[in-house]
């Protein structure tokens, strides 16, 4: 079970060297052994996993198996799973089990992937450290005193620690890429609209996008190509034909023009991070890519624009949690107003409450034009900025984060420092572009990620570039100090 890729595991399963049930039991026991320490999972459903594994073994025997059949994965606890607790990291939904599956879950179930459980996250995906989870923060397997990043920190920690082969995540402003970088794994947020949002609990609807997290780009490709595709039940999903990323993954990158935004490599960038990225970029050059300096002049707009649009959408997306139909309800409400106020005050954590307030303010009559209206205009400028850049380059590369994983509790009292964590990732969501983070080296003992940004629907190119890099390097297959190794 040492660092096997999806491809290797899939072959072992189809060659009957091991069964899906054996593989699943191995991961379930790994979770049992390490989850108390890492808190990567909020819930694990052993019976469900074993049931699915038996079914996967049937598929493997009757010739209906696909690459992901029998591969144990985890879902970020923001994806609805039928009859399985879906908490979104919140007290509000601590006892909520939806009567339906998210489209992503349904698609992965359909090919026989096995759901081990649901991974930890910042409450309603609001956060960059996992410290906003009602269930307690997940820990970074590279240094358990450090955060795994957020909001998909549980998924990143679970993959990095070998508690699952791959995991789903969601990314509204960096929530896949930042934890992937902190935990030394690969994570891809596809183009907005590529993956259905149905059954994926909304934070900021115009920015939220589901994606894949795994050790390697190749593993991400297998996961993402199964998750992607048009969904008639999500009006914002794209009807563009899906692609086989795993087949495209061996395309070479000779002649690929990679843009390096001056604004991302400014003097403010930590020199250690800069050195790591430079080394990685040199590897890409060795693979035939051409590096070009470019400008993203509107880069500074990303944080202020994001922190208006995302809270504005969140403030109304979260109105449905009112204590009336499902979810948390306060004890013996005096009247309707009391029911609303106490249910929401008691069940939403401080960061969620803060964003609801900020968003409500930004949409208020008299402030709308100054905040939300302006932010929408600035958002278009950011998108145009990228389109301008893509006239000259195929991809854009830069840091995923300003530095490595930080210590738990070190930024909780400084919200601005926390928001700056996402300075390189936010613009990608605002522009609806695909972005990927891959491990590129170590800052002391903690991983650093390189971010690749593609034009719309260029996920195949991003994954192929990362894959080529990963054929030359082994950062993605280094083992974290907390790693559930061992053999069956």
């Amino acid at each position: 079970m040492e660092m096997q890729s999806i491809k290797q595991l899939s072959k072992a399963l189809s060659d009957k060297q091991l069964s899906a049930v054996e593989l699943t039991k191995h991961y379930l026991s790994s979770i049992e052994a390490h989850n108390d320490q890492l808190k990567a999972f909020i819930s694990v459903d052993q019976d469900r996993a074993i049931r699915q594994a038996i079914q996967a073994d049937n598929m493997l025997s009757n010739g209906t198996a696909q690459t992901l059949t029998g591969i144990p994965i985890a879902h970020k606890d923001i994806f609805c799973t039928k009859d399985l607790a879906t908490t979104c990291g919140s007290r509000m939904l601590a006892n909520f089990a939806p009567p339906y599956d998210a489209t992503v879950v349904r698609k992965l179930d359909a090919v026989g992937a096995i759901t081990l459980g649901k991974t930890n996250l910042d409450e309603f995906a609001m956060g960059s450290s996992n410290e906003n989870s009602y269930f307690g923060a997940a820990k970074n397997p590279w240094d358990t005193n450090c955060v795994p990043g957020g909001s998909s920190g549980g998924s990143a920690a679970a993959v990095a620690a070998g508690l699952c082969v791959a995991a789903t995540g969601t990314d509204t402003g960096g929530s896949i890429r930042q934890p992937a970088a902190f935990c030394g794994i690969t994570g891809i947020k596809p183009t907005y609209g590529r993956v259905s949002r149905l059954g994926m609990i909304a934070y900021a609807s115009s920015l939220d996008q589901g994606g894949a997290m795994a050790r390697s780009a190749e593993d991400c490709a297998f996961l993402l190509e199964t998750m992607a595709g048009f969904d008639a039940a999500d009006s914002t999903s794209s009807d563009r034909a899906t692609e086989s990323y795993s087949e495209q993954i061996n395309s070479d990158i000779k002649g690929l023009r990679i843009g390096l935004p001056r604004q991302y490599f400014s003097a403010d960038l930590d020199p250690k991070v800069r050195n790591i990225l430079h080394d990685a970029l040199r590897e890409l050059e060795r693979l035939g890519a051409e590096l070009v300096d470019i400008d993203l002049k509107q880069a500074d707009l990303a944080i202020p624009v994001y922190y208006i649009i995302a809270p504005a959408e969140a403030s109304t997306n979260l109105s449905r949690y009112d204590g009336v139909r499902y979810g948390y309800r306060c004890e013996s409400p005096a009247d309707l107003q009391d029911l609303y106020i106490r249910s929401r005050s008691e069940a939403f954590g401080p960061e969620v409450q803060k964003r609801i307030l900020v968003g409500t303010y930004a949409l208020s009559s008299g402030y709308y034009d100054a905040y939300y209206g302006q932010a929408q205009k600035a958002r278009r400028l950011i998108a145009e900025d990228f389109q301008q850049a893509f006239k000259g380059v195929d991809l854009i590369a830069g840091p995923t984060t300003p530095g490595p994983a930080f210590a738990l509790g070190s930024k909780t009292s400084d919200p601005l420092a926390m928001y700056l964590e996402d300075i390189y990732t936010l613009a990608v969501n605002l522009a609806g572009l695909p972005g990927l983070s891959m491990p590129a080296g170590f800052y002391d003992h903690r991983p650093i990620g390189l971010q690749l940004i593609g034009n719309h629907f260029q996920e195949g190119q991003l994954l192929a570039t990362a894959h080529q890099y990963q054929t030359l390097t082994d950062w993605h297959s280094r083992k974290a100090p907390v790693f559930a190794g061992g053999h069956l």
Partner: protein, 482 residues
Amino acid sequence: MSWEVVIGLEVHLQLATESKIFSGSSTRFGAEPNTQASAVDLAMPGMLPVLNELAVRYAVLFGLGIGAQIGQRSVFDRKNYFYPDLPKGYQISQFEQPIVGRGSFTVTLANGSSKTIGITRAHLEEDAGKSLHDTIPNASGIDLNRAGTPLLEIVSEPDIRSAEEAVAYLKTLHTLVTYLGISDGDMSQGSMRCDINLSLRKHGSSEFGTRTEIKNVNSFRFVERAIASEIERQSDILEDGGVIVQETRLYDAERDETRSMRSKEVANDYRYFPDPDLLPVELSDAYIAEIAATLPELPEAKKARFQAEYGLGDYDANALCDSQALAQYFERTAERGKDAKLAANWILTDLLGQLNASGATLQEAPIKPEQLGHLIERIKDNTLSSKMAKQVFEALWQGEAQGDVDQIIEARGLKQVSDSGALETLINEVVASNPDQVAQYRAADEGKRKKLIGFFVGQIMKASKGQANPQLVNQLLNKALS
């Protein structure tokens, strides 16, 4: 002092789609509470709206029907407020870019004059659910069956000047939307609800007074009474030198008065913004043209055609065009009976009279237009007198002889005698056996003769067992007596 009344109406029209505007649940009225509420309607986590294309089509059809600008790009917005029957905590509506822009239509008033009322806009939105306050002891229930039902909110200009005009506007609108087939228009089921914006100003003033909004009035009669009582209330205040408070009011039909709703309701900041879950609705010229091609003949055009083509008067044309079904019934009857005026008379007097008396709808009428046309044909060819025709109509209504007019005539022996030879024999007999009356008749002047001839007609009808053609009898009698 007399005041000028200024009224604008907002009508919430329920569109006749099978499923809801953003989910696949049924819109059927009257089901058990919450049996027609899906995960989307319940606003379960992760659920997303998907626009019902038919609702868009109906809105466009309405816009075309009133000659309005169609918003080729319209946007759905979220209207945010907390209420237990509003599961998402926001209503999906259209704010800045509605699907239907400016238009107008003409209403006819009781005195025969007509007036054009401007339409400001019409937009699509979803209905809320219902709070039930009397079904569960010590608690309120929520029924979300209605949540997500598609509504078209039609906003008029403040062009309406009286309760009568308001009702005429609503009735015309009702006829129009049922012609278009976009709503069943059933007000008892809430398919058409009305908010009334009303203010008063001095005659000749060009500025509007402060208005109040009376919410959710759901019948023509209540609209009329709500307006009357609100005019009285406002003018009392103004006469006493007071000021009108801009507020939302409710009409209480039992007390026949409007009363203020809590001011909290008025002070809502709805924080409208474009719903990121839905794409803007972009309509191509071809799409709009395709819908335009399906526009039925509308009431005004139909009325004009009925007058020109069938030679009907204003009143008959108006009455027959009141509903598409009635107009169609008339055309089929006239076609079969080959006499439009007779058809109009029989439908407006006899058929509608029977329907009213029995409480049945036109669709339920036991007499089909072909049968009524057949009856009219038998009046035209002198087989039936109008008195006999009424008997046949009655028999048709009862479903006699499977509705075969000729069989009913045969079976009841109702054939009118129009054979002049046979009638002359009868007349000669009656004349010969009543010499005194004949002498009296011959001695009388023109005026008295008209009275006296009734005696002879009566005798002849009696002798013919009621089957003599009365017109022919009159003619022949005149000849025989002179």
